[in-house]
């Protein structure tokens, strides 16, 4: 059991694997992102009611979906780090926070811009928007708490506790549309039953969601690599790497 964790938790191994995944995943993701953006912006028809403003959906929905999923990843990594005392889970958790914060920020800003032509207002204190704002605060809180600790191992544990406590918020975000009446439309993409979005609009949206997941993974791996180096600064493999880098 422990030896398995040790292998999985071996920093140089993880650094190398993450590097080789990134070598192909990052370019693929960036190309997919460009394709998705052009597709959504220029090659889809406008909505019969909202006109062209709905094109923001191709960036708003993926960002929001992945921002929420990112919180789950962070909290689960936190739980793993607390329960099994796995250092790599700590690193992964820490790496999630800034990415999640950025995606939540994108979701909020694009939503606000979309809201103006659609609802007639930049901002409403609707349940889902408010929960999204709270999600941003939760992410920023994790970042701030991590930075405040000198002992990075303790920082990881403290952030894990905080993100687990924040998990209580996530079901409220998901359920808020059902619990309270709000301006937000119910989910358009349904896995059971028929989607209420036309296929010509659904495919680029799904494309973008997958792309954002890939982008999240890329950023996560890159952040983890950077974090690993700093944590393992005194070990031989990092020293060797720095020497190679110098040469």
């Amino acid at each position: 059991m422990w030896s398995f964790f040790h292998k999985l938790g071996s920093p140089p191994w993880l650094f190398r694997i993450a590097g080789s995944i990134l070598r192909w995943l990052l370019p693929v993701t960036l190309v997919a992102l460009a394709v998705g953006l052009v597709w959504g912006l220029l090659f889809t028809a406008p909505d019969f009611r909202q006109g062209n403003s709905y094109r923001i959906i191709y960036i708003h929905v993926p960002a929001a979906v992945v921002a929420l999923a990112g919180y789950y990843v962070m909290a689960i990594a936190g739980a793993v780090s607390l329960i099994w005392k796995m250092k790599m889970a700590d690193v992964a958790m820490k790496a999630c926070a800034p990415i999640g914060a950025a995606l939540t920020f994108i979701a909020l800003v694009t939503g606000s811009i979309w809201g103006k032509p659609t609802w007639g207002t930049w901002w409403v204190w609707d349940a889902r928007i408010t929960s999204m704002l709270i999600l941003l605060f939760l992410y920023l809180g994790v970042v701030a708490l991590y930075e405040a600790y000198d002992n990075k191992e303790a920082a990881g544990k403290a952030c894990a506790v905080l993100s687990l406590v924040g998990m209580v918020n996530i079901p409220i975000i998901y359920k808020s549309v059902d619990w309270w009446y709000s301006l937000h439309q119910p989910a358009s993409i349904k896995f059971t039953g028929e989607s209420t979005i036309d296929p010509s609009m659904l495919y680029p949206l799904l494309w973008m969601i997958v792309t954002f997941y890939a982008l999240f993974t890329c950023c996560l791996l890159m952040n983890m690599r950077a974090e690993l180096l700093e944590r393992e600064a005194r070990t031989n493999w990092v020293k060797k790497l720095a020497a190679e880098n110098r040469a």
Binding site: F137, A144, L145, A154, A158
Partner: protein
């Protein structure tokens, strides 16, 4: 060797802790008075900032009172474990054979008794200062009784996570304000409804639900946070 030593029962231990915390608070009466004074002074700020028109103030009164209660709780939450951390009592508490999640409840209970409870009891006076209609006083006191208990529990999590940090004060606000927001929404909604003459009980029930959830989960997080802070 004599028979294995038996530690006192958890309940007795928690009561002893509660007495200890209350005695400590009672020997520093100024620290109990400060949040109340803060409450009174911030209440006085609103008529100065918004203008003293009574009906305008009355409209904002539920929100104003709740926000101040929240802020004064925020200011005191930071101190719950601070002195115990500094003099080494906290590490002794962690070593106690009784479950830590119960003993931290005693700390939080003492904090609530010396801040939230008192605040709820004196809040009618402040409510009158900003023209909160009389029929809402009951809902105000009830919502503050329930809500400040949630605030104390949630604030305890922030306090536990930041007690080992030199500059925890600002950070604790960032960490726990997101969790205070639902309490604020339902607390002020309860008062608002009482002002309008609609039933406040559903809102109080939601606050009660939050309190139950907080009692169930916050002690675990506080205990974990304290172990991390002492270890850091």
């Amino acid at each position: 060797m004599s028979a294995p030593a038996e530690a006192p029962a958890t309940g007795a231990f928690c009561l002893a802790l509660l007495r200890r915390q209350l005695t400590l608070a009672a020997r520093r009466p100024i620290e109990i008075g400060n949040p109340l004074l803060f409450f009174a002074m911030v209440v006085a700020l609103f008529p100065l900032g918004l203008g003293p028109a009574p009906d305008k103030l009355a409209g904002f009164a539920p929100g104003i009172l709740w926000i101040i209660a929240l802020l004064s709780n925020l200011l005191t939450s930071e101190t719950v474990f601070r002195s115990d951390f500094e003099d080494g009592s906290l590490e002794q508490l962690l070593l106690a054979p009784q479950p830590l999640f119960m003993s931290v409840l005693a700390y939080i209970g003492a904090h609530w008794l010396t801040t939230g409870l008192l605040l709820a009891l004196v809040s009618p006076v402040f409510a009158l200062m900003i023209n909160l209609p009389g029929q809402a006083i009951g809902a105000l006191v009830a919502s503050l009784l329930l809500g400040t208990a949630v605030l104390s529990l949630v604030g305890g999590i922030g306090a536990a996570l930041t007690v080992g940090l030199k500059r925890g004060g600002m950070l604790i606000s960032l960490l726990i304000l997101p969790f205070y927001m639902p309490v604020l929404i339902f607390g002020s909604a309860a008062v608002q409804n009482a002002v309008l003459g609609t039933p406040a009980v559903p809102y109080l029930a939601i606050l009660g639900a939050m309190l139950c959830l907080a009692i169930a989960l916050a002690p675990l997080a506080i205990a974990a946070g304290l172990r991390i802070s002492v270890d850091a």
